[in-house]
Structures are given as structure tokens and as C-alpha cells.
């Protein structure tokens, strides 16, 4: 009984950590540009794909491969912002959001063209030998996911509170006009926010694809869950994104375990809707 609960909680925490990483990517872009960046969805798939190529085409070991894949997605994200969104002539948010939908279709097309439509298997970071924790069986990859998510969050905290660039990004998030008045360059901030969103999405992709499978559109559903997590926590709030991600992950795995695995997404979205009816700005939103 308790073991079951522990098992479900572990799997919920693992997927929750992935949702949290993706949700943080959504929040970073929202805070600087005020839009939902749907390309985030493809950053996840791209992360897995780049990791696959780094391991098997370049023959790199795990750690350099992971760093290369994450940096690569960050770079692609910067290209998307510079040449895909910067030239837009509108500041209507709906237009910009659908611009990201268009860019996401194009990026998914490129991924499909380069890596094909086949399902691929990415090896886990360390060999798969299940570990027994208080009677629950946990894969080492799940522990890596939790560990690296915590590391990524710590790095983000350090970046946003200790570096000049991070501080100016927070200034833009809190008041765009005032930030422009004191001379913070808007373009560089937007570019950085995309790079961070790309790196977070890429990291999520690298970490989760050994557990799911690697496929050109694996990011779509994961990305939507990440968006849902960001909304659940309050869009734009970093603690909210983490809380929303972990909450959504736990909700999903517990309802899959105790209710029905076919309707686990229904339960997750239904709870999301109920939370929004009570708190229209999410759990920690302002």
C-alpha cells in the first residue's frame, strides 16, 4: 500500500521535474515578451535529437554530449528569436503567439527532414539498474532527472539574482518601459530569454527521451503539459512553474495509479480547470 504510493509519487516527481523545466522556459519568455512561445515544444524534441547525434554521429561521451545538445538548442532558440520573431511588425500578442506556432511548424519540419520520422532510442545517462528505495523501484535516470533539474534551477537562481544580465532581465520583467528608460537593451534581453528557454527545453528533452522514446514530435504533448504547469502555478512566476510542474506530475501519476491510466490526462486538465475557476491567475500568480 505505502510502497505503491511511494512508487507513484516517484514517477510523478520525475515527470513533474520535466514539466517544471519546460514550464520555466515558457515563463522566461513570457516575462520578457509577454507571449506564449509555442516553439518551446520543439526545443524539447530538438534536445533529444541533438543528444542522439552527439552520441552516435560524433561519438562523444555522455557529459560533453549533454552540454553540446543543451547549448545547441540554446543557439537554435536564439536564431529563432533573431530571424523569426524580431522582424515582426506587430505587437498584438495573438499575432506574435501564432507567429511562434508557425515557427514551431517549420522547426518540426526541419527536425523531421534531418532525423526522419522513425522512433529512436536514446541511452540513459548511466546504465539501467533499478535502485530499491524503501520498497519502491526507481530507475537511475529518474534520479538524474531530479538532480539535474535541481541543478538547473539553482543555476537559474544564481543567474537571475547574481549576474548583471540576469538582474536586467528581472528589471524588464517587472517593468518594460522603466527598463528601457534606464537603458537596458531590449533586443539582447529577448535574445537571452530565448537562449535560456531553449536550454531548459533542450535539457528536458535530453533527460526525458531515454524514458519515453525519441521521435520528431515527442515534445508536443510534453510541451503542452509544461504550458499547463506554468499556467497552473501562475504564468510567469518561477516558483509557480516548479510547483505547477511537480503538482501536475504527481496528479497525473496518482490518478493513473489509483483511478484509470486512460483518463489520467483528463483528470490532470480537469483539476487545472477547477484551480483556474477558483484562482483565475494560477496558484502563485499575481
Amino acid at each position: 500500500m505505502f510502497q505503491d504510493f511511494l512508487q507513484f509519487s516517484f514517477s510523478g516527481l520525475t515527470s513533474g521535474a520535466i514539466y517544471a523545466l519546460i514550464a520555466l522556459g515558457f515563463c522566461v519568455v513570457n516575462n520578457t515578451m509577454g507571449i506564449v512561445n509555442f516553439v518551446q515544444v520543439d526545443f524539447v524534441s530538438l534536445g533529444g535529437m541533438l543528444m542522439f547525434s552527439a552520441l552516435f554521429a560524433l561519438g562523444l561521451p555522455m557529459v560533453p554530449g549533454l552540454l553540446l545538445a543543451v547549448a545547441g538548442v540554446g543557439l537554435v532558440a536564439m536564431i529563432v528569436e533573431r530571424f523569426g520573431l524580431r522582424p515582426a511588425r506587430s505587437d498584438n500578442h495573438l499575432v506574435l503567439i501564432f507567429l511562434t506556432v508557425g515557427l514551431s511548424i517549420i522547426l518540426r519540419g526541419i527536425i523531421k527532414l534531418v532525423w526522419g520520422k522513425n522512433r529512436m532510442a536514446l541511452p540513459p545517462l548511466t546504465p539501467d539498474e533499478p535502485i530499491n528505495i524503501l520498497g519502491a523501484t526507481v530507475l537511475p535516470q529518474a534520479l538524474w532527472i531530479l538532480l539535474l533539474t535541481v541543478v538547473a534551477i539553482a543555476l537559474l537562481m544564481w543567474f537571475f539574482y547574481r549576474t548583471p544580465l540576469g538582474l536586467s532581465m528581472r528589471a524588464v520583467a517587472s517593468n518594460t518601459t522603466a527598463a528601457a528608460v534606464v537603458g537596458i537593451p531590449a533586443g539582447r534581453i529577448r535574445l537571452t530569454s530565448y537562449a535560456i528557454a531553449g536550454a531548459l527545453g533542450g535539457l528536458a528533452g535530453v533527460l526525458v527521451t531515454p524514458i519515453t522514446t525519441l521521435n520528431y514530435d515527442v515534445g508536443v504533448l510534453l510541451g503542452l503539459k509544461g504550458f499547463a504547469a506554468a499556467i497552473l502555478g501562475g504564468f510567469g512566476s518561477f516558483p509557480g512553474a516548479i510547483l505547477g510542474g511537480v503538482g501536475l506530475g504527481l496528479l497525473e501519476s496518482l490518478s493513473a495509479g489509483y483511478l484509470s491510466s486512460a483518463y489520467k490526462d483528463v483528470v490532470a486538465f480537469a483539476v487545472l480547470l477547477l484551480v483556474l475557476f477558483v484562482r483565475p491567475k494560477g496558484l502563485l500568480g499575481k
Binding site: 506587430s90 495573438l94 507567429l99 506556432v101 508557425g102 519540419g109 499556467i231 483518463y263 487545472l272 480547470l273
Partner: protein, 332 residues
């Protein structure tokens, strides 16, 4: 006024009516010129999507809200008609009306709480609603037929006359589409429509001017759901088969893309956006491998350079050119 001026004045005054008459005539004669069933099948699909997009454009373009969940109402209409006519042997016309009333009730029940949300929260909530609906279609297979779909839906008929070939369906579906068009054109010029346009411009200002914003939003949401439900019923009877794929979140996103490409708040643009996005996959056969680039590329280019949408954007460019030329003539 001279005779020429009088005619010009008449045309300007009645331009909307004349455009509608011209389009109706064109549609009336179209099957005489083009009798290829495949082409007519595509134009029929355009008409079905036009009905959904007209309603959705009232909600997005006039009420200034967002819905990524209208494929759910479209699907409710389609599956509602399918289940009522096949499982309960209800008359298809009656079923269409009953289903539309039920969908309106569902939209009202969902709309009252969901429309308290705004912006990204509303987008997520409607997307979640569509996701839940699609999952239920897939999983509840005793009723919906699950992933393999629901087949054997009867055609619509009047007396002995059955609407089953493309030409008769053309007249039937486009009649519905033109009624929806006329309704939308008249609605946006009424007091209610002006209130909605104010709501899209600035919600606070509209409220200050005496528009009951919450009420107005819910009403338009319900209206657009009814449009989508009718379109869904027609879809079910046209193809006599429905499957969950036509009502997933990508279908819902495509509907909003139709609105945005055609131009938010442009009624004529709705027809154009529906036509362009429906036709794109047909042209895609020419360049199969690069279809994602073309699909995404067209969306990106239109939104980047004509953010008001194709129809409004091109008209604006024309007007600007004309005004510049007049100014030049006046200076000369």
C-alpha cells in the same frame, strides 16, 4: 448629383449587399462550370470550416478573446448528430437543432466560469477543454467508436430528395454558410456588434461605456459554439463518417490560424482564411517533402508582414496607395 455619381453612391451605400449577392450568384453557378466531384468536395469543406471560423472570428476578432477549443464544439455537433441519428433514429434535421441547443447549453455552462479568465489563462483553459474532449472521444469507445471512428451516418434529405452527391451538398452547405455570413455581417453592425468591437478594443473602456462585458463575452461564446455545432452536424452528414482526428487540438489551432490569416475582426476574411488553410494541403502534393516549410512559412510571412490578416492587410495597402496618389495629384 449626376447619373454617374448616383450609381457610384448606390454602389458604395449597398456595397456589402452587392458583394453578398455577387458571391451568392457565383456559388449558384459554380457547379454548372465545375462538376468535378473532388473539387466540389473541397469547396464544401471550405464552406463547413467557414461557418466555424465566422463564429470564432466574432469571438476572437470582435469580443477580443481567445479560444483554442472550438474543435470540441465542432466535434460535439458532429458526434451529437451521428449518435442521435444512428443510435436513436432521430430525424437528422431535428437532431441538428437538438444538438445545437445542447451544445449551446454546454457552452453556457463552460463559458460562465471559463470567461472569467483572460489572455494566456483562457488559451490554456480552452486548449485543456479540447484535449479532454478529444481524449473522451478516443477512450469512450462504446459510444463514440473510439479511434476507429463512427460510420454509417445517414444523409440529410427533404422528402424523397437526399443530399448525398457533391452538387446537392454544395447548395445545402453553402446555403448554411451564406446564412452564417449574413447573420455575422448584420450582427457586427447592430448595437450589440458595436459593443463587442468596443470590448475587443479595450475591455475597461467598453465597460465604462455601458457594455455588459461579462454577459457579452458569454453570449458570443455561446453563439460561436452554435455555429460550430451546425458546421459539425453538416460535416457528419456530408462524410457519413467521423473520427476523433478531425477534432483534436491541432484542428482547434488550425481554426484559429484561419481566423488570424483571414484577419481578426474581418468577416469576409473568415471565408478567405478558411479557404486558404483548407486548400493548402491540396496544393501540398506538389512538394510533399517540404510541406511543413510551406505551411509554416506562409503563416510566418503573413503574420510578419500583414499582421492584420490577408484581406484587411491588402485592403489597407490599397487604401494607403490610393491616398498617397490623391495627395500627389492635389499637390501637382
Amino acid at each position: 448629383m449626376t447619373g454617374k455619381q448616383k450609381i457610384l453612391y448606390f454602389i458604395t451605400l449597398h456595397r456589402t449587399g452587392l458583394w453578398v449577392t455577387a458571391l451568392s450568384l457565383l456559388l449558384l453557378l459554380f457547379p454548372l462550370v465545375e462538376d468535378n466531384p473532388y473539387t466540389l468536395g473541397i469547396t464544401n469543406l471550405i464552406a463547413i470550416y467557414s461557418i466555424v471560423v465566422l463564429g470564432l472570428n466574432l469571438f476572437i476578432g470582435y469580443a477580443g478573446q481567445i479560444s483554442l477549443g472550438h474543435a470540441a464544439f465542432f466535434g460535439l455537433g458532429a458526434y451529437g448528430s451521428a449518435i442521435a441519428t444512428v443510435n436513436f433514429s432521430v430525424n437528422p434535421w431535428l437532431a441538428m437543432v437538438i444538438v445545437a441547443v445542447l451544445v449551446a447549453l454546454v457552452a453556457l455552462l463552460i463559458g460562465i466560469p471559463i470567461l472569467r479568465l483572460s489572455g494566456h489563462y483562457l488559451a490554456m483553459a480552452t486548449l485543456g477543454m479540447n484535449f479532454v474532449f478529444h481524449t473522451i472521444l478516443l477512450q469512450w469507445d462504446e459510444v463514440t467508436g473510439g479511434p476507429s471512428g463512427f460510420s454509417g451516418i445517414p444523409s440529410l434529405s427533404i422528402g424523397e430528395y437526399e443530399f448525398w452527391d457533391e452538387v446537392s451538398l454544395h447548395y445545402l452547405i453553402w446555403t448554411f454558410a451564406m446564412l452564417a455570413l449574413l447573420f455575422s455581417l448584420n450582427l457586427v453592425r447592430s448595437g450589440v456588434g458595436r459593443g463587442l468591437a468596443a470590448l475587443a478594443g479595450d475591455e475597461t473602456a467598453a465597460a465604462a461605456l455601458g457594455v455588459n462585458t461579462r454577459n457579452a463575452k458569454v453570449k458570443v461564446f455561446v453563439l460561436s459554439a452554435i455555429f460550430a455545432s451546425f458546421a459539425g452536424s453538416l460535416f457528419a452528414h456530408t462524410y457519413s463518417f467521423v473520427s476523433p482526428d478531425s477534432f483534436d487540438i491541432f484542428a482547434a489551432t488550425d481554426m484559429v490560424i484561419m481566423v488570424v490569416i483571414g484577419g481578426m475582426g474581418s468577416i469576409w476574411g473568415s471565408l478567405f482564411g478558411a479557404a486558404l488553410i483548407t486548400l493548402l494541403p491540396e496544393w501540398m502534393d506538389l512538394f510533399e517533402t517540404y510541406k511543413d516549410f510551406v505551411h509554416g512559412g506562409i503563416l510566418v510571412l503573413v503574420l510578419m508582414f500583414l499582421p492584420q490578416g490577408l484581406v484587411t492587410g491588402l485592403i489597407d495597402i490599397g487604401k494607403t496607395k490610393l491616398a498617397l496618389r490623391r495627395q500627389k495629384d492635389a499637390e501637382a
